[in-house]
């Protein structure tokens, strides 16, 4: 029953490197070996490509070149933005606001600052995963150094009202950072319109390799350096510049921004088809996250009575690569903090599946996928003592049996 060619449905974890990007990186590795800080010909040639790449990235989010700083990952961008802002006010402003559903790059950064004495407010989210601007306004204190709320969530795909959140911060004169790692490549990003002070990007979510990111820092915003050392990136981010990846990042962002709306529409349509089919086929299934404010390529389900890792392993065996918020895939005992934060009970959160699609998906593959998924879920339920209890009427299910999906939509729109 295993299909021959594999189907990659984990684009939120990482994307394959785009063929044109590979070519660009390879040719830069071959032809641009000069250190951009060197004043001789080879160095200046590299420097020019560096600045050209910076301008391309800048213009793709409506920023200026001097507001773009290249980093080595989304993680570094998040660390820098938050630690840089917080440490600038060390001893003075010792309060940080974030949300409960941020990526670990933000949450663990906050935790490490907490060890230095910072006080962290983790804003709750509603059942769709949305942060309320009112709650943010209420949480801001005179000693708040920075607010960091992600633009779109990596697990459930929920899109935050960044413009409103940023405007709350601007009004209260508090720095606002957004982790746009999942948004970039899927949503248009216009930093003037958004009104954010800082914004994190990571290349491997849109066709560049893993290991290259950027931080937008609005001109005039001063934060501490995170990577101390040489004078690269106008003295703000040290380390010899990774020119091949920087050029590749610029190429990838150009490609992904080129027909963004067309791609997004296509993804949304395929994604909805997938959701519809899964929900109509498999009972006791829940769609996690908002239906309306959702990344085009993201679907996230919970299947009651089963556990996510075994689901992933069986899907893998059938040729499908997906991800889960199961505790077992992360090596902890608790399942995804995101799923718990939107109110799922532990047992439901354990049985989650994230499907993050690319534009190469087709209705045919969706059908194959749903057939496999149904078989696997049935098989795992047959093995599950929780399902046995339910069948024997010893327990009532948490997720209603049928038409759950339609009821869910009705409620939302």
């Amino acid at each position: 029953m295993a299909i021959t060619s594999r189907v990659y449905l984990d684009n939120a974890a990482t994307t394959p490197v785009h063929a044109e990007v590979i070519d660009e990186i390879t040719s830069v590795m071959r032809e641009y070996y000069g250190n951009p800080s060197s004043i001789y010909t080879e160095g200046q040639k590299s420097k020019e490509l560096l600045e050209r790449s910076r301008d391309i990235v800048a213009s793709s989010i409506n920023a200026e070149g001097r507001e773009i700083f290249f980093t080595a990952s989304g993680t570094e961008s998040d660390n820098w933005a938050i630690k840089g802002a917080a440490l600038r006010y060390f001893g003075q402003k010792m309060h940080i606001i974030t949300s409960r559903i941020e990526h670990h790059a933000v949450l663990h950064t906050c935790e490490s600052l907490a060890k230095l004495g910072y006080d962290i407010t983790y804003l709750p989210v509603d059942e769709d995963g949305i942060v309320s601007p009112e709650a943010l306004a209420a949480a801001i204190r005179p000693d708040t150094a920075i607010v960091s709320i992600m633009m779109a969530n990596n697990e459930i795909g929920t899109i935050q009202p960044i413009k409103e959140l940023a405007s709350v911060c601007r009004e209260k004169k508090v720095l606002f950072h957004t982790d746009a790692v999942q948004a970039a490549g899927s949503l248009p990003i216009d930093i003037i319109d958004l009104g954010v002070d800082m914004l994190s990007l990571s290349g491997h979510k849109f066709g560049a390799p893993k290991g290259i990111g950027a931080l937008y820092i609005r001109k005039g915003v001063r934060i501490n350096n995170f990577m101390d050392g040489g004078g690269q990136e106008r003295n703000r981010r040290a380390g010899t510049e990774n020119l091949p990846y920087i050029a590749g990042f610029a190429k990838a962002i150009t490609i992904s921004m080129a027909d963004l709306q067309i791609k997004a529409d296509k993804l949304t349509q395929l994604r909805n088809e997938l959701i519809e089919k899964v929900m109509n086929t498999i009972p006791h299934t829940r769609l996690n996250g908002s239906y309306e404010h959702r990344l085009p390529g993201n679907a996230n389900f919970s299947f009651e009575f089963i556990e996510g890792e075994s689901l992933l392993l069986m899907l893998d065996h059938m040729g499908f690569a997906c991800s889960s918020g199961s505790a077992c895939t992360s090596g902890s005992l608790d399942p995804s903090h995101v799923l718990l934060s939107i109110g799922l009970p532990h047992e439901i959160a354990h049985g989650s599946l994230r499907v993050s699609i690319g534009t190469s998906l087709t209705s045919e593959i969706i059908d194959q996928f749903v057939v496999s998924l149904e078989q696997i879920v049935m098989r795992l339920r047959q093995m599950s003592p929780l399902y046995e209890d339910f069948i024997k009427n010893k327990t009532t299910p948490i997720i209603p049996c049928t038409k759950c999906y339609k009821e869910q939509i009705m409620k939302e729109v």
């Binding site: 890792e309 075994s310 532990h346 003592p385």
Partner: protein, 143 residues
């Protein structure tokens, strides 16, 4: 690969899945909150485990260890089955990733829980065996 071929075999083709209608005893450990539950039914005749079936809610290694543990105790005396350790189960599976070792504990525990309940229904736990059941308290997973 994350798992050995043997783990994958026992995960994809688990032995002894199911229930025993006239089970002599049954043991359930773990809880849904932590993401793994294992229930084992034993059929015991003359102190020999003549059949064992399991149901497991859990990850790949939880299912594989359930399968392997039931294989290992069928045909064994209760004393022998009580000697089953999570280490032995993991070894029989050609090892587990370190982070997954707690799943093999579940297999050991559920077998012990079933035997304990068998003793309790049949004249009580022999004095010299009581300490063997300590493991049921050792892990936060126990119900």
């Amino acid at each position: 690969m994350l798992y050995s071929d043997k783990v994958m075999d026992h995960f994809m083709n688990p032995r002894n899945v199911g229930e025993i209608d006239d089970a002599s005893a049954s043991g359930t450990v773990g809880n849904a909150k932590c993401g793994d539950i294992m229930k084992v039914d034993l059929k015991i005749e003359n102190n020999i485990i003549v059949d064992a079936k399991f149901k497991t809610f859990g990850c790949g290694s939880a299912i594989a260890t359930s399968s392997m543990a039931t294989e290992m105790i069928i045909g064994k005396s209760l004393d022998e089955a009580l000697g089953l350790t999570n280490k032995a189960v993991a070894e029989a599976l050609d090892g587990l990733p370190p982070i997954k070792m707690h799943c093999s504990l579940l297999a050991e525990q559920s077998v012990k829980a079933a035997i304990k309940s068998y003793y309790e229904q049949n004249g009580g736990i022999p004095e010299d065996k009581k300490n063997l059941f300590d493991v049921l308290q050792e892990d936060e997973h126990s119900v």
